[in-house]
Symmetry: C2
Subunit: 332 residues, 2 copies
């Protein structure tokens, strides 16, 4: 009889424990709001690029993946293997056919992808552009570098390096809008804020290492007092570095370049390139997924009439010099 009593008591005890646990579970759930920032693993978001093999995208994809972990959703990476706009259109069409939860695309052409981007919108698939925009498409937002601002940052850094005084050359790629903007930001800042710095030469390096080296060879001959060169993209920067090395002007001419491919980082480490501007590629990926998640979950319409998304997110640039260059080599 005592044993039976004991068993009953234990039973009641466990029942109480069970009820208690059930209730505390409910408390936890009720703390969750209607628009919690947590998805499900079967929600699949896709990042689409071009030249899918290059290192440049790795940090963007890492940001996309990190956001997926924070939001508890899945991601996938697809890209045109070549620098080929038709291939990117085909890849996008394949991705759209699978009806993913959202697409982040870096548009290799500012106009050619408009139709396929709008096709995603028509199929109710959230889509944003990152790194390279398609401004006339219906993509919900763009996350990337404000290139004019990046040029402003480069100008201030150059002023610091040459103590606000001296002749400057620019090697750019005048056919691409992002390079024009970088150059404009650089020149306008020098013109308005640094009266003792003068842009004496503005040349076309065609985004090519060899061409850039040649135009700077000539620039150094024409302007023996040159104190600095701003290269608006990475191949040009390496070409400028080779020219300056060959002409033994390493200690006289400060170079500021763009992006963080291995060739550029090595030259920063060796002190040939004084500084390079790293784009916020991780942030592009991370905040792209945040935007897509907000669209997919209709958080916009739940919370506020219209869209809850900023039109443009400037992911900014970071100045990379000898001091912090090691942080920018890929870990693999």
């Amino acid at each position: 009889m005592k044993k039976l009593l004991f068993a009953y008591l234990l039973l009641i005890g466990l029942f109480v424990l069970y009820v208690y646990q059930y209730q505390s579970d409910n408390t936890t759930n009720s703390q969750w709001s209607d628009y919690e920032l947590r998805g499900t693993i079967d929600e699949n978001y896709v990042m689409v690029t071009f030249q899918s093999g290059i290192d440049y995208w790795k940090r963007a994809l890492k940001g996309f993946e990190d956001a997926a972990e924070a939001l508890n959703v899945s991601v996938e990476y697809r890209g045109a293997t070549q620098y080929d706009v038709d291939e990117q259109i085909t890849v996008l069409e394949q991705v759209i056919a699978k009806k993913p939860a959202g697409i982040a695309v870096s548009a290799m052409h500012p106009v050619a992808l408009n139709d396929v981007i709008n096709k995603a919108i028509d199929a109710d698939i959230p889509i944003v552009t990152f790194d390279a925009d398609a401004p006339d498409s219906n993509a919900h937002s763009f996350l990337g570098t404000d290139n004019f601002q990046a040029g402003v940052v480069a100008a201030h850094k150059m002023a610091e390096l040459i103590h606000e005084r001296g002749e400057i050359g620019i090697v750019t790629h005048p056919k691409q809008l992002n390079h024009l903007e970088r150059t404009r930001g650089f020149r306008e800042t020098l013109a308005s804020e640094y009266p003792h710095m003068e842009v004496v030469s503005l040349t076309d390096g065609r985004g090519d290492q060899m061409t850039s080296k040649e135009v700077v060879d000539e620039m150094i001959r024409d302007y023996p007092d040159l104190k600095g060169v701003f290269a608006s993209e990475a191949n040009g920067g390496v070409g400028v570095g080779q020219s300056v090395l060959e002409q033994q002007k390493k200690d006289e001419i400060h170079i500021i370049s763009f992006d963080t491919d291995k060739g550029t980082l090595d030259m920063v480490k060796e002190g040939v390139i004084s500084a390079t501007l790293a784009q916020g590629t991780w942030k592009m990926g991370y905040w792209s997924l945040q935007h897509l998640f907000h669209l997919q979950h209709g958080l916009a319409s739940k919370m506020e009439a219209g869209t809850s998304l900023p039109r443009f997110v400037d992911t900014g640039v970071t100045i990379v010099t000898k001091e912090n260059v090691d942080d920018f080599y890929p870990n693999e």
Copy 2:
């Protein structure tokens, strides 16, 4: 004996149930990553403005509150009651003393608040600026309207309204940077894209309704063929509306104004003001809190060296016309 056996069986059954539930709880937990987007209710984020009573802040605060619900944290609203920079500094100091989880501040002066903003940074309190920036402070990011872009939007809308042809006047407030930028975006867009539209008059309305009315009275006398007026802020816009009404030019002159206070919305409803530009104030609040949360939880350093925050988020503008004006009246 049978009863005892039954009791034991029940006991074992309940125990199994208990263990099962315990495990399923653990499974739920393990789905959460290290950097989940979920805080605790005792995390208190503070929004600080100036002229705290005005309607303008309501949507920003709503965005801040909505993000707090999504992220499971608490928020508080504080503001200088007056348009007084010393009062705002005092309020900020009081807020900093309480060591909140983060601060979003609309800086009523672009420089005067730098010290107190940096004081928050020094005390390890995350701080961002929204709506009005303090660009030389150490605030982590700025979330607000790109005023140049807003001027571009206004120019395209004006072109549509007057069929890309005619004389235009501008009433602005040339002492404030945001108004200069709006005017610059408007003028540069007309100059570069609309050869048959001409800005014939650019006047200072001093941010005042009466002054703006008077300058436009004169403008209409001087330019009887005037087809449109762009007012870069709301008081000016209402003044322009009064002038146009009084001179019975309502059907001849299109007005584009800025912001969505009641006076402006009423004039849009009556067809006196053709369009006004609503700033993304809800988004400013919502994404400010997202940024502060990322800083407070050190998501930056967990995920990526450096900061995970965009430098600048352009919350954009929405064109408000007769068609959608009702969505912009406050609900209360």
